[in-house]
Subunit: 340 residues, 2 copies
């Protein structure tokens, strides 16, 4: 049995779902993978819960409502450095703070500190990786630890895993993905005759789109994901400014109808295009036909297609996009880190 | 740089494609993975090519036509034991002999001998694994080596990888796969109004179906694959006789039309069904509707859907089915064995 110390940064929807999932899956992790998961600390934006080495994660889940209260488990002033212990006690930092693709913070500082202390990292937030991919990957390599980010690259839909492991030995000739559920849902509703504004309102009412939907609707979310996937799988070195980006704000029902007349659907694709020895990444509205592997990916569904030299085109689709799906991606990364 | 000794068993279409692929990918394996692939020996049904530790695989590919001739590289009487050397010289046995699901031979003897000598194994032939899955996996575990079989479980379509690695930590609630290209092609052609007999003839003329198509058409191929995938991913312990099996011989165009009237298509699915704590595997013709993730998988395409508790339904589709695709799956397994 291998003990895995976990320090969780961020206690929003994903952080809370992660704590619950770890509690639910503790026995399975023991029995199937020989891993004893121990939640050492949870840092929220205001305070920190120091769980010590107790494995009573149920308590932690119950503490959700008590955050910031006078409950003795919640401490203010606890520093990350105090729990990033060395030696045999090292473990995984799980990064779940909100994504900020301009500064990368606060995730960037967390990940840098964890890697410096030779802790593994599993990240659900994209910002730090999008901005400092190369630096952080090098730092992990130098420290002999792993930096994984399945939760930041389309939640439970496996994208990076499949590209790195299942396509090992193949050349990636191109990548195309429907990587943001909200934009795909809006486009699907528009195919049904609903205007962009109404489809967006509907998605917001259902809690799928954020009150400020620009991260999704303007293509930033897709841009961040295709950047991370391409850099990890195809060895590119894209910065966010390299990704030529368009959103779906300007799409009209007429555009959708024009595509339909040609037997096509409009999709917001994140793409890696490799032509003539040059790599290009973009987020672009493309009308695709029935022969395209992403043609049937509708609603909040996501999918990615890898075009390869020796294996043909391989598409992965589906996967939960809710906080529990993202938490499951984080847990997967932790298991695979320790499986070696 | 890590030297990887390879002993190849079988020099049919897949074996030859593998030798060519290793030759084509030698540089990539060096640069990207730090692996120096060395083809040590090739065993055909009649003789063996002993390549020593030379890395001039181009020569080996050119030798294809000289097999069994007086060319000095081809030896008769060379024994497998002579090349399965110990210590640092151990490597991977690549098993590409024809699949025999009644006896498992000759693959079974090859794999047993390799594992006993603590060689890793990458298998494209199914027979031995289908018959002796548990024994062989235990033997690999005991020897501290890996037994991989991506090439035996739908060629370049990643099935076992995704289930084991990308779904780590999730419970598999069920599996459904379109795992045999030939049967799916025949059913697709029948949707277009062509009779079973004509569709089969066409597939044979195109070299997709075997002269004796019963392995595919009677569902044996799908049965072997779902058995291996389920045992590897879901921890079941199925024998071939546990897999309730039907083929597509009896399907009529009327059956297809009846399904179509209900908005459905007939598909030959390999399934793991988990209900009430019981596991059941079958190969069954099922009429599936538009909401099913395998509805749009047509022609020679293959796909698999994993239904999980925390990640939702995840589908992988596509992937080349030709000998080069299978060879690519073997190479992937070798890379992942040594990547650790």
């Amino acid at each position: 049995m291998h003990s895995v110390n976990i320090v969780l940064m961020g206690f929003g929807n994903v952080g809370k779902a992660f704590v619950r999932l770890v509690s639910d899956k503790q026995r399975l992790c023991r029995d199937r993978y020989g891993l004893e998961l121990r939640l050492k600390a949870v840092f929220t934006s205001k305070s920190a819960l120091y769980a010590g080495l107790r494995s009573d994660l149920k308590d932690v889940a119950e503490l959700e409502k008590s955050e910031g209260s006078a409950h003795p488990a919640w401490k203010t002033g606890l520093k990350l450095e105090e729990v990033l212990t060395g030696g045999q006690d090292r473990g995984v930092l799980v990064e779940c703070t909100p994504t900020d693709m301009r500064t990368g913070e606060p995730g960037l500082s967390h990940i840098r500190r964890a890697l410096a202390k030779k802790w593994h990292v599993a990240a659900a937030s994209k910002g730090a990786l999008v901005l400092k991919f190369k630096e952080l990957m090098k730092s992990a390599q130098k420290g002999g630890v792993r930096l994984k980010f399945s939760g930041a690259t389309a939640a439970a839909l496996p994208t990076v895993d499949v590209g790195v492991l299942s396509l090992a030995g193949a050349e990636i000739l191109g990548i195309e993905g429907i990587l943001t559920g909200v934009t795909n849902l809006i486009l699907t509703r528009m195919e049904e005759g609903i205007s962009f504004a109404d489809a967006l309102k509907e998605a917001q009412a259902r809690g799928i789109a954020e009150p400020d939907p620009s991260l999704d609707v303007d293509g930033w979310d897709t841009a961040g994901k295709i950047l991370l996937i391409s850099n990890a799988v195809a060895g590119t070195d894209f910065s966010l400014s390299d990704v030529v980006r368009e959103g779906i704000q300007g799409v009209t029902i007429d555009d959708i109808r024009t595509a339909k007349k040609e037997g096509k659907v409009l999709k917001l694709l994140g793409r890696l295009i490799r032509e003539g020895g040059k790599d290009k990444a973009d987020v672009k509205l493309i009308a695709i036909g029935k022969d395209h592997p992403l043609y049937h990916v509708a609603g909040t569904n996501k999918a990615i297609t890898y075009f390869t030299d020796t294996m043909g085109a391989i598409t992965v689709s589906g996967g939960k996009s809710d906080p529990r799906g993202t938490a499951a991606a984080l847990l997967k990364d932790i298991i695979n880190i320790y499986r070696g």
